[in-house]
């Protein structure tokens, strides 16, 4: 009896201690999060702009209605989706090829892998500038190099479709190394014996790739695709520098549109509305992420 009582107090004191040390960090986070969150939800129900002195007016779901019937919103949604639907598969395949090329160790492979990863950590604004110079229609090296293949200079950043392609090229350049890195980690985690078994069974290398490697890479692929979806929802800086969303609204992503609504049009109500919508989408993705990635990991550990 006395023993259990004592155990309970230890548990209680541990709980108290755990809560106590969590407090400072929680307070900081909550201060920074709760205020903006409340502000957002409240303002999404108001017609309110900083552009006119008119007082804010409560309007129920009018902002949401306006947002969902706004073609510019759907354009931004579509453009964000295009980056995901084209960018992620292209980057995955490219990264898989590179990861398989780099997977077998050779002298200096560590340096090669490190060099490959440089684009990941490049300041996004600089990434935008790099491609702005490279894609320049008159003096850029890309058009010059394409000239050798008989391709006429392209107005990369002036044609809507090409501008979108430019964004995709830039995104692929910056993020393929990241996907490669994750896939390399995934490949490294596959036990040697699996391959030995496959080779004893007489599988060819191609069979081994499709029957053994690919299925075992599925969890890492799930992870990396989810992360890329999340990152693309956030994409702002390099697009702002490279195209500024243009020409017109051809490359305007959701983050860019949110910024424009807030800080070019000063429409507080609408910017809150689009923020709430994105928050809901991201919450769903976070749920999916937890159930697909985190729980799987926890399950394996226990």
């Amino acid at each position: 009896m006395a023993g259990t009582q004592r155990a309970m107090t230890i548990e209680q004191s541990q709980k108290r201690f755990a809560r106590l040390i969590a407090l400072p960090g929680m307070v900081v986070l909550v201060l920074l999060v709760v205020g903006p969150l409340l502000y957002m939800f409240v303002n999404s129900f108001f017609l309110k702009t900083l552009a006119t002195p008119r007082p804010p007016r409560f309007a129920w779901f009018q902002n949401y209605g306006a947002l969902f019937s706004d073609q510019r919103f759907w354009n931004a949604f579509l453009k964000t989706m295009v980056i995901m639907v084209i960018g992620i598969p292209v980057q995955s395949v490219l990264a898989l090829v590179i990861a398989l090329l780099l997977n077998k160790k050779f002298p200096g492979s560590r340096i090669i892998v490190a060099l490959f990863l440089i684009p990941v950590m490049i300041t996004p604004v600089v990434a935008g500038f790099e491609w702005k110079i490279i894609l320049d229609n008159r003096f850029g090296p890309l058009n010059y190099l394409l000239g050798f293949f008989g391709i006429h200079p392209q107005a990369w950043l002036a044609e809507p479709a090409l501008a979108m392609a430019s964004i995709l090229i830039m995104d692929t350049w910056q993020w393929t190394p990241f996907v490669t890195l994750v896939l390399l980690a995934g490949l490294a985690a596959i036990p040697k014996q699996v391959y030995e078994a496959a080779s004893v069974d007489g599988s060819s290398e191609r069979e081994t790739l499709w029957r053994v490697t690919m299925p075992l890479l599925r969890p890492v692929f799930t992870l990396v695709i989810l992360l890329r979806i999340i990152f693309i929802f956030k994409i702002f800086d390099p697009v702002q520098i490279l195209t500024g969303g243009g020409p017109g609204i051809a490359t305007e992503t959701l983050s860019l549109l949110t910024y424009i609504i807030g800080f070019k049009n000063f429409n507080v109500g609408m910017s809150a509305t689009i923020a709430v919508v994105q928050l809901i989408v991201i919450t769903i993705i976070a749920k999916v992420f937890i159930s697909l990635v985190m729980n799987r990991r926890e399950g394996r550990q226990s």
Binding site: F17, N103, F116, T123, A185, Y195, L279
Partner: protein, 313 residues
Amino acid sequence: MKATELPRQEPGQHRPPAPPAQVEGLHPTALSAADLARRKRIRTLLTVLRFALIFLFLLIFLFPVYWIAVGAFKVEGEFYHYPPVFWPSHFSFENFGRGMTVFGGTQALTASLVVAVTNTVLVIVFGVLLAYSMGRFKVGGEDMSFFVLSLLFAPPVIATMPLFIIFKTLKMLDTYPVLFLSYILINMPFAVWVMKGFFEDIPHSIENAALLDGYSRFHAFRKYVLPLAVPGIAVTALFVFLFSWNEFLFALIFTRSRAQTLPITLAGMTGGHQIPWGEISALSLIAITPGVLLTLFFQKYLVRGLTFGAVKG
């Protein structure tokens, strides 16, 4: 450093080896000498092809970095030259000089450093305890994890308007604090999430032993757990520093001139009627240096940091 890197690489060797000798051993009569020679030729050819491809990919992926790096040393005319100048005739350092003075590089560099360092310290100090509490004692449970993860995933742009109004009311716009405080929102969920993983990796027996010796919980944490977590915390700090250093959106909205960080100064340089590519390249080269160094020297931790701890690497 070297010793810790080995385990990551060793598993890399385990592609199906299938050396001719082994195949021969399995099917002694199946392959003639000619077949073997042919196989060997194909294998050599494949190896050559593999390295050629690696080289090609490396060339493509490093070219943009090369272009901006070499651009930093070009003279202005070389940016408006056809065909493009792949290697400048002589290396000039004028771009750095003008970039730092005329275009406000020095002031931007100072701001970037002050903001990134202060933010890193704040995030780590507040984050470590929260991460330990969550990782070791599961404070807040699943809900807490979900909260932090949602913050980590949410596009920062959605917080800009409310924060702008708050900081405007507090008359804090265009100061260093507005940046190093608002960056907590971006970096703390990351730091907490990643460090939580590091603390989960430390066996409970460490603290239990200290507790049995009569140390207080806090003492056990500070003297026994924290030292073990230092490498992880240090790497997390490097990431946080880099995220602050690279940050653009908040700085774009919350600063005007005095507290402008390097990315904002860079972005502002395109305003004139002729873009000063030389100076942009020079300041860009400075801006990317920390990231490049982190990639080259902390490659081992990159996968864990960038996947928010989901892949241990």
